[in-house]
Symmetry: C2
Subunit: 206 residues, 2 copies
DNA sequence: GACATTGGAGAGTAGCACTGTCCAATAATG
DNA sequence: CATTATTGGACAGTGCTACTCTCCAATGTC
């Protein structure tokens, strides 16, 4: 299949595919001559992956590049695998400023929750959580300890479900965790909206 | 307080505040002369709200405008209140294409889940869910029925917790639901990451 | 009275994700 | 074999967003 075929089967414009090639998001096809190359099924699924990550998960092309790099270079042992997966997930999203003095209360709350749940205390994730708590507070949104605990309990449920989808083969597991998590993030939020509508109908009547 | 004071207390540049004034995201201050106006605490919290929605919730300024319009014009009855809240939430996020033929299977799955859960069948939310299922499928991510059901159960937990934060006063309730949901969306995803790390450590050992 | 600040308006900028145009080399077609 | 189409490659241009800069006369401050 040549580039026009790749464009036809994926529904992505030829110019865009060339752009992805330039940006290193898509590996070059196998050259058959100086001005011709062919592309295979791997290219098709790679293009579909890029589109899903940008359109559905809302990642920037830079973030997609980070994810693809992690997927293309899986760690050998299963021990490092999930660590690599989460490194990729955290790298794909923003880093967030380290935060100033006013964020210390939020960081303390974040650490308390993590300790209570027995979660890891990855500083990147803790800082992210602290920043989000601070933003909510700055916007005048009350996030009580009880409420936060309820969200954490639900997160444990989601994570338990996530793990059941993991295959044993390392490369497939990495892909499933990283891509699966990124693509189901918006799905989780949509389900939250749906459940909210239902719950509010119950409380406030029809 | 004049505009430089507003800039100092919120940490937002004067030029940016002027831009927000021009764009209607910030109501004009009370004019004390032809070239002078003063701003109060309401302006401070409005600026903080705009920053929280853009920086933390990742909304565009257009989406922020929709949210603010909904908050500034609360419906009179409590009956319409949550409906208005969800209209604001759905309007704040993208609409998403109606989807073609290939999305029909995904839409059927979405409707099945909604029916099973007894959730509302708001076509906007159902279409969104269908589009997300289609994207996951296109990217080669398997989303089993069991897995989807687990996510839905967790969403019900989150929604139940969300409702406990709602005050009885209509304006405060609207604000809490809309802004609270938008700002805790990223928080929920961060908690998911944390719980995943912990769960994977349990399964795969240290 | 000297100097800084303000509100208002418009133009300019940076980054992102494409998209359009051009080219010589090659492939497909009659 | 001549003609037409397509390809890979490079680069400039586009549309959008979220600012940021510059300018101005009017006003405030020292």
């Amino acid at each position: 299949m040549r580039i026009s075929g790749l464009a036809a089967t994926t529904g992505v414009a030829v110019a865009t595919l060339k752009y992805y090639l330039r940006e290193g998001l898509l590996p070059p096809g196998t050259a058959t001559s100086r001005t011709q190359a062919t592309y295979d099924e791997a290219h098709v699924s790679r293009v579909r992956l890029v589109r899903a990550l940008t359109e559905s998960a809302g990642l920037s092309l830079g973030a997609v590049r980070e994810v693809l790099a992690a997927l293309d270079d899986p760690p050998p042992s299963r021990h490092d695998l999930l660590g690599a997966a989460h490194h990729a997930l955290v790298a794909a999203e923003g880093r967030g400023r380290p935060g100033g003095d006013e964020q210390d209360t939020a960081r303390r709350r974040a650490r308390e929750l993590v300790a209570e749940r027995g979660w890891c205390d990855d500083p990147l994730l803790v800082d992210r959580l602290a920043e989000q708590l601070r933003a909510a507070d700055a916007a005048g949104v009350v996030v009580s300890d009880d409420y936060l605990r309820s969200l954490a309990a639900a997160a444990d449920l989601v994570a338990a479900a996530d793990l059941t989808t993991v295959q044993l083969e390392p490369a497939a597991a990495l892909r499933q965790v990283v891509v699966g998590t990124l693509l189901t993030d918006p799905l989780v939020l949509t389900l939250r909206r749906m459940a909210q509508v239902r719950a509010s109908q119950e409380v406030f009547g029809a």
